[in-house]
């Protein structure tokens, strides 16, 4: 208990000490997760919207795939990406293994099903009569799709925030493909694992607090956006 309290106060000190190593870890976490989120949003939102709007026969099958993807264990994704990027793997020539690029690839694979699956559900939740309504008011096909997306925007934002929360706190995949190399691929989650193992609890707690704060901020941002509409 004593250790915990001491660790906690040291953690607070650390956070405000502008320790460069600490901020490097935070910055790398945000960069990896931010880029992964950007890519999976850029692909996942249109794909989810298209699936939600279309009547294709294969949709049931694709939905099952996406929902399975939403539950993928990150460590399995990490293993898969590791094999793909390892020297003898099909994409080994890129030399991405144990670099942030590999971590980004792994996080995209984890986030994409979340973004597209939840976007699809949000789009399907929009009143089908709305499409007829906007078409009747003179919407082109593109304007009609835009209107549906706008109606579904709360759900789409929730999808992106859920994906952010999922990948920023994920440890299995980034550990495997990034290797937790100090100053190179060490992010918040992998640093927590390391510091806990080596008994540096105050650092681990500081990192944990920061991770929680980031997830909290993302949700506050989402609630504010939802409140606006």
């Amino acid at each position: 208990m004593d250790e915990l309290t001491r660790g906690f106060f040291q953690a607070i000190q650390l956070i405000f000490s502008a320790d460069p190593a600490l901020y490097e870890i935070i910055f790398l976490s945000l960069r990896v997760t931010g880029l992964a989120l950007l890519v999976s949003t850029a692909i996942g939102v249109p794909v989810g919207a298209a699936l939600g709007l279309s009547n294709i026969r294969a949709r049931g099958f694709i939905t099952a795939l996406l929902y399975t993807g939403m539950g993928l264990p990150p460590v399995v994704v990490g293993l898969f990406v590791y094999l793909m990027l390892s020297r003898s793997g099909p994409f080994g020539v890129f030399g991405w293994l144990f670099t942030p690029s590999a971590m980004i690839v792994a996080q995209i694979i984890i986030a994409f099903p979340l973004v597209s699956g939840l976007t699809m559900a949000a789009v399907q939740g929009v009143d089908p009569a709305l499409r007829l309504q906007v078409r009747s008011l003179g919407a082109t096909r593109a304007q009609e799709v835009w209107a549906v997306l706008r109606e579904a925007r709360l759900g789409v934002i929730a999808a992106i925030v859920a994906a952010f929360g999922g990948i920023i706190s994920e440890v299995g995949a980034v550990m495997l493909v990034g290797g937790n190399i100090e100053g190179k691929t060490r992010v918040l989650t992998t640093a927590i694992v390391l510091n806990t193992r080596t008994g540096e609890f105050s650092l681990a707690i500081a990192l944990g607090v920061i991770l929680l704060a980031l997830a909290f901020l993302a949700n506050v941002a989402m609630l504010r956006l939802q409140g606006k509409s």
Binding site: L130, Q133, S136, L137, R150
Partner: protein, 240 residues
């Protein structure tokens, strides 16, 4: 009587092989108010969706302004016709944004016209209210206002006063009349209410099981119907 704006011939719409609309012949004239009455499930709303080019006919076609429409319908044509639906669907936005929506689609600015029409339907106090917090009757008036603001050539009204109190029914009927008189808008009005049809429309048609049973000028239609089924419907004795 002016030229027909719609000529419908052998128009059929089926859902899963069930015939819902089957109109042998129907003409709607430019600048008229034409009422469609008929029991629930007769196919009135489906007919309006066809006239608004929102559904593809299973068979037959619609001639609109002397052009046969089948397959792709150009957006300029589609934008001449709009519907106030039986169950209005408003966008998740304020009243004013909802009313201005059709202008935005056409790349036009939401200017004084929007506020003028909001006032006309008696909703100025709610201009900036959230559309999802409105009552049924208020929603219906927003739906009418947003149809009027785009100045359609044809206005299709599906039970536009179903949720309104007598004062607002009178208000809406006067707006409809004025729209027709001042702008020459062609209006097709679907209504359960035979008295409303009498008040607004010089010509009335009865729909039954997807078919147009009888079309006539209002006085003859109500006072001396040719078809016994029309007589039964008008007297409120129709069994359905």
């Amino acid at each position: 009587m002016s030229a027909p704006i719609y000529r419908v011939e052998n128009l059929r719409k089926e859902y899963e092989r069930r015939v819902v609309v089957d109109v042998e012949q129907l003409e709607i004239y430019a600048g008229e108010i034409f009422a469609v009455v008929g029991p629930s499930g007769a196919g009135k709303s489906t007919l309006l969706r066809l006239l608004n080019f929102l559904e593809t006919p299973t068979y037959g076609q619609i001639v609109y302004r002397d052009r046969v429409l089948d397959g792709h319908i150009p957006i300029e044509t589609r934008r001449q016709v709009t519907t106030v639906f039986q169950r209005p669907v408003l966008l998740r936005a304020g009243v004013r944004d909802n009313v201005a929506y059709g202008l935005g689609l056409r790349g036009q600015r939401a200017d004084g016209r929007v506020d003028e029409i909001i006032a006309q339907v008696g909703l100025q106090a709610l201009t900036y209210a959230s559309a999802h917090k409105l009552s049924g009757g208020e929603m219906q008036r927003v739906a009418l206002a947003r149809a009027l603001v785009i100045e359609p050539r044809v206005l299709l009204l599906d039970e536009p006063t179903a949720n309104l109190d007598p004062y607002n029914v009178g208000l809406i009927e006067e707006i409809v009349r004025e729209q027709n008189r001042a702008r020459g808008t062609t209006i097709v009005l679907v209504t359960h209410n035979v008295f409303q049809a009498k008040r607004l429309a010089p010509r009335v048609g009865l729909m039954l099981n997807g078919r147009v049973i009888e079309v006539g000028n209002t006085q003859q239609f109500f006072d001396a119907p040719h078809d016994p089924r029309t007589a039964a419907f008008v007297r409120g004795e129709m069994v359905y």
